[in-house]
Structure formats: C-alpha cells, structure tokens
Amino acid sequence: MRFSTLVRHIREGTKNVFRNGWMSFASMGSIIVSLFILGVFMILALNVDKLASQIENQVEIRVYLQLGTEQAKIDDINRQIGRIPEVKKVTFVSKEEGLQRLKENLDPDAQSALDGYENENNPLPDAFDVEVFDPQKVADVAKQIQAINASDADQPILGVKYGQGTVEKLFKITNAVRNVGLIVVAGLAVMAMFLISTTVKMTILARRREIAIMKLVGATNSFIRWPFFVEGVLIGVFGAAVTSAILLYGYSWLIRTTQYDLGLMLIKFASMQDVGGFIAGTLLVLGALLGIWGSTVSVRKYLKV
C-alpha cells in the first residue's frame, strides 16, 4: 500500500463518520450503552471486592479465659496461640480493657449503667484478640485454640468466639454477590455484543450497495476495509471516551455526596485513583476493539461480490 493511499483511507474513514451521521451516532450509542453498563458493573465489582476484603480483615477471634486465670498461665496460652501457623497476631485484652471497650460502644446515656462494675466488681473475663492471616481459616484456628484446653487440667479457656456463624454467613454473602455479579456481567456482555453487532449489521446493510459498487469499480477487499477500520476505531474510542467521562464524573459525584453518610458506617468507596485509570483504560481498549470488530468483521459478508 502506498503511503498516500493510507492517508486516503484515514481521511475517508474520518469523513465517513460524518457522512453517515445517524448511523455513526447509533453505533456510538450502542457502544456507549454497552460500555456504560459494563463500567457500572466493573465499579460495583471493585467496590464489592474492596468491601469484602475490608470486612474480611475485620474478622477476629475472641478467646475468653476462666475468671481468675493466673498471669503465668495467661502468658503460656498467649505463646501457644502465637505458635499456630495461621495466626497473625495475638493481643491480650484484660478485663479492664474489655469493660472500657464495652462502655465506648454504648450510648453516652447508657454508659452510666456500667458504673459500679469496675475493678473487683468487673464481671468480664480476661480475653485474647486473635487475628489470622487468611480470614477463611477462622473456624479452623478457633478449633485449634479450643483444643488447648485438652492439654490442661484447668481448662483455662472459657470459650472461643468469632461471631457465632456470622463469618460463614458473611463469606456466603460476599461470594454470592461476586458470583451473581459475574453472571450479570457475562449476560450483559453478551447483550452488548448482540447490540453492537446488530447496529453494525444495520449499518452494513445500508451500505451494502455502496460496497457492491466499490467492488464493481475494481476495489480490492482490503481497500474497502481500511476506511471501515478507521471509522470503527474512531467511533469506538470516542464512544469509550464519552462513557469514561460520564462514569468517572458520576462516580466522583457519588463519592462526594455519600462521603458523610457512609463515613459514619465506616464504609468507604474505592477511591478515584483506584478506579479511574483502570476503568478508563479498560473501556478505551474495549471500545476500540468493539469498533474495529463491528466495522470490519461484518463487512466480510458483503465483500463477496
């Protein structure tokens, strides 16, 4: 191919975007709609993932000790728990600290209800907070800690708590959300493909005569394809750019307006830095690919004239 021919193809492709006004607009519309939906779900997925790992990181085991366990025994148990390979960190929580925490969790009004339970009146047991490396191992580690009792006649461990099954429930929920999300994204991707291929087929149908005439004048297949290719890239990239702009602007707005409300619940959206580049990059690449795929692969059918 001559260089001047390449220039011609790029010029033609660009011109065609405008010449086919409505058709270009419609193709771009399909791409925008598809990418928008995909983008929304990507953002959703990123946030669910972030939320899930936040929650997972908060999963701790609480080990309660018999009232009146001696300091030597406490240190021993501390060491024994620390030796379990899955355990990341063990923190001793004395009954005084426990009471303090309890108070902090209550309404200021209700805090006075705990007055008089300090020091020797403190009914709480001493305890350990145990963090594990892999949150999914929590149940297993809890059993191992409970087993320490077996080697000790004093049965110093009163109980091991890790949320009475809420952890399992939590994992079931986050896994379910992830799976449903995946299915929905896959379904929408198929819909998007259908949508774009339909638009493309309509565009091509409208231009079938045009392609036929070009062929009858002696144009080779690649000569016909090139401007379509350029057209596809332009439409795809532009569509993706528009989508990214809408999505990221909308997302930053969402973060700003919900900051206060959700901040109270210690829930935080994935930040713009985390999301922005990833979304824009993915959408631009996808947009270009969709555009190219749409405008070139489907031309093939009509090239056999």
């Binding site: 191919m1 001559r2 001047s4 021919t5 011609r8 010449r19 086919n20 005569r209 045009e210 005439i213 070009m214 062929k215 009858l216 004048v217 002696g218 144009a219 080779t220 297949n221 000569f223 056999k304 004239v305």
Partner: protein
C-alpha cells in the same frame, strides 16, 4: 479478447436470461448489443464484468477464465473494464467529483494525477460545473454522464456501456458517441447496449441482436433491428 462458448444464464428464480450464446469480440472492436426489453442484453454485459457468473459455458475476458477466477483476482480484471451501468450506480453520498475520482483512488493513482484526470473527464462529459453536486442534485442525464465519466477515467482496455444515452437528449447523446468513438480509435474495445436506432444506423458498427436470450443476428456494420 471476450470469448463466450455455449453460455447459459439462469437466475435463481428460474428465469432463463441467456441460452447457448457463442460470441467472440476482438481487441479494439466496437459492438452494439440490441434487442427488445428483457431480451438479456444487460445480463450479457453483467457476465463480462462478472457481476453475474454464467450458469454454464466458457467465458474468458482479457485472457482470464471468468468462471474459474479466484476471488482475489476479480478486482484486477475489473480494473481493465470500464462499466456504465444501466441504473448509473453512483454513490449517493459522494459528490460528482468524488464519484469519479474514487475509481482512480482504487488503483492507487497519485493525488496530482487524480485531480488532473478527474477534472479532464468531467469536462469531456460537460459537467465540470457540477463537480460539487451529489447525485440527488443532478438531473437524470447528468447522473448518466457522471457514470460515463467514471467508466472512462482509468483508460480501461474494454468499455461496457449499458444504454449510456438512455436519458440523454439527441445532441448530448451524439457528444457521448463522439467521445466513445475517439476512445475506440485510441484502441479501446467497446460493447454498448442501446435502443437508439438513429445512432446504430448512422454510426455503423458491428451489431449483435439478442432476442429471448439467444443471439438472432450478428452483423459487421449492421443496422438496428432484431427480428430474424
């Protein structure tokens, strides 16, 4: 140059448009194809530039066996054939200028060449002043002349013209005929379907008459007419 041996053409709906056609058209001949409406003239021409393929028989154009031509080769065969379609087939979104220059871009001519030659042929068909109009802004005869300009722009070795003067007044028709004759003198083979009795009888050339799909007459320097 164009050789047909026992050519048959049956359309998918069963219409038999050509039956056992045998014809040889030599390099640098000028041939009129005449015949009543629906006789098979356009079908005859479509086979030459391979818009349709013969259902049966041997057809060679410029030494290429059209029936067995590889898809990849078709464009190059077509580039040596300039076609004036009966229904013009201009690209509706391109201007008159672009419709003509397009045929030159296809063969990757240089930009300067394209400019010069396109304006030249638009001038030859008398439509230099309509270069910027799209087909919808042109009269029937003007569209036909743009189609003629496109057919001759690449100096093809064969010109296939399907009723190139159907929508033209006698004077403009004669202008076009003079143009075609000049091109013919410079060595181009011309195959032209026409209903124009006056032209055929004045500008005497070889006449092939088709009726109901068969060649009923084939005379050098013949007259218009197709009854046996």
């Amino acid at each position: 140059m164009i050789e047909m041996h026992d050519i048959w053409k049956t359309y998918p709906d069963g219409t038999v448009a050509l039956q056992s056609v045998n014809v040889v058209i030599d390099r640098n001949e000028f041939v009129y194809i005449v015949g009543p409406s629906g006789a098979g003239k356009s079908t005859f021409m479509k086979l030459i530039y391979r818009e349709e393929v013969p259902s049966k028989g041997q057809l060679s154009v410029n030494g290429f066996n059209i029936g067995k031509l590889k898809q990849r080769k078709i464009p190059y065969v077509r580039r040596n054939i300039g076609v004036v379609f009966q229904d013009y087939r201009l690209l509706p979104k391109l201007t008159a200028y672009e419709n003509v220059s397009f045929a030159m871009e296809v063969i990757e001519a240089s930009k300067r060449q394209i400019r010069r030659r396109t304006m030249e042929v638009l001038d030859l068909v008398g439509l230099k002043h309509k270069a910027g109009s799209v087909p919808a802004q042109l009269s029937g005869g003007e569209q036909q002349r743009i189609a003629i300009a496109r057919a001759i722009v690449n100096n093809p070795s064969v010109i296939v013209a399907d009723e190139p003067t159907g929508n033209l007044d006698p004077e403009t028709s004669w202008g076009i005929m003079k143009l075609l004759e000049e091109i013919h003198f410079r060595g181009t083979t011309i195959v032209m379907a026409t209903h124009n009795k006056e032209i055929v009888n004045t500008l005497r050339k070889r006449v092939i008459a088709i009726e109901r799909g068969t060649i009923v007459r084939d005379e050098p320097r013949g007259e218009y007419g197709y009854e046996i």
